[in-house]
Symmetry: C2
Subunit: 252 residues, 2 copies
Amino acid sequence: MPNPVIQQMLERRSIRNFSGAPVSDKDLQIILSAAQQAPTSVNGEQISLIVTRDKDTIRKIAQIAGGQPQVASAEVFITILIDFNRTANAVAMAGEKQLIDQCAEGLIVGAVDAGIMLQALQMAAGSLGYGTTAIGGIRNNPQALIELFGLPPRTFPLLGTTLGVADPDKLPRIKPRVPLESFALNERYDNDKVSAGIRDYDVTLRHWWDAQGQFDMPSYIQSTTNYYKVDYFPTVGEALKRQGFGLIDIKS
Amino acid sequence: MPNPVIQQMLERRSIRNFSGAPVSDKDLQIILSAAQQAPTSVNGEQISLIVTRDKDTIRKIAQIAGGQPQVASAEVFITILIDFNRTANAVAMAGEKQLIDQCAEGLIVGAVDAGIMLQALQMAAGSLGYGTTAIGGIRNNPQALIELFGLPPRTFPLLGTTLGVADPDKLPRIKPRVPLESFALNERYDNDKVSAGIRDYDVTLRHWWDAQGQFDMPSYIQSTTNYYKVDYFPTVGEALKRQGFGLIDIKS
């Protein structure tokens, strides 16, 4: 019998239909406090959150994310920011100038820490019975969110999560994954295992969609191709530059 | 009384001293399987792991990460890769060509998903009683790790985690965080709250170090300044380029 943490993780699914039941202030505080104990690179704490409860604002975020009903119907939306403004303020208090926001390392640290925070928020929320879905779609138009939240230079809205009570009549099935042995490789990378895993998984995911009557949903190979043959959020680079991020070590 | 998930999260700390007790194969499989259910952007599953159990290799990783005893003494080291090789293979199977690894969006997706995976692995490990520390230090010399693991183009070793049984006599205290109200901002960014939080936190963290007799450890402002006034892992950009990543939308 798995422990409650493992059980919650194995049963994780993205909740896109909410019942409309409220999220209590007390639970929200517990979720935020628990997630904040997650690690950050060099304990820089270069992550901040914008917690949106205002329904009009949540609807605006849904529009910015490309018109997503799953966002519009959430009770709370939490946006995860890379916040090198906090660290720049700290560095300025020491009489120095921050460089890290101009480097590939900075963007990587910020994005990794944002991912850590996303998972921490969703684990905490899930343990209290709430449903969530990660929303990368806010990068559809980062500039609009920057203006909506009044984000200063050196901050960037990287992704967010919905939060609400799942509609029990519309719970999705748990989505399968690529075979474990093609995901967790022993000692060295193995391209044969990774490639074989793709072919296996494409069949598995096809059956998973078909079993729900969603015959038109593309399976793994086609879905990945549809997304990744193009730069599907093409304004991210420009928005990063406008927020003052540089990548001097990549550009040179 | 918080539930087991919240309790584990609130008590989270980075374990840097291991007892030398083993990690069972069964537990490792549970950790990997549970973590794999974490979400990935557009279900692209652009994350792979290299699981290192070989002690000589773990010692090599410790050297690559800048000579870290906490890595050398771990029972297992798990390296988290951005794996746009998997997705490139999938796109090629559909007769198309992947573009996303040439864009800022791709690097962001990969890094965010790596962070999600880090937190998922550590949560699963912690629930089974194991200790972990996130190791970004592998970016000290990404090229060495790329060669050690035989990593193909479009993959990148972003960070890793140690895994082992904590030495009960050397458990660290739980590290404080910036004030919650300066981390989770309501509705809009508030630079005054963020700045006030830095000053508060600098005092809190100073007291935390002092209470452990570590009077020489820099507090938040000085620590952040030491790291972020320089590009402390300056070969990351070059290694990304060598692995075939581009950032055409930032460079232009």
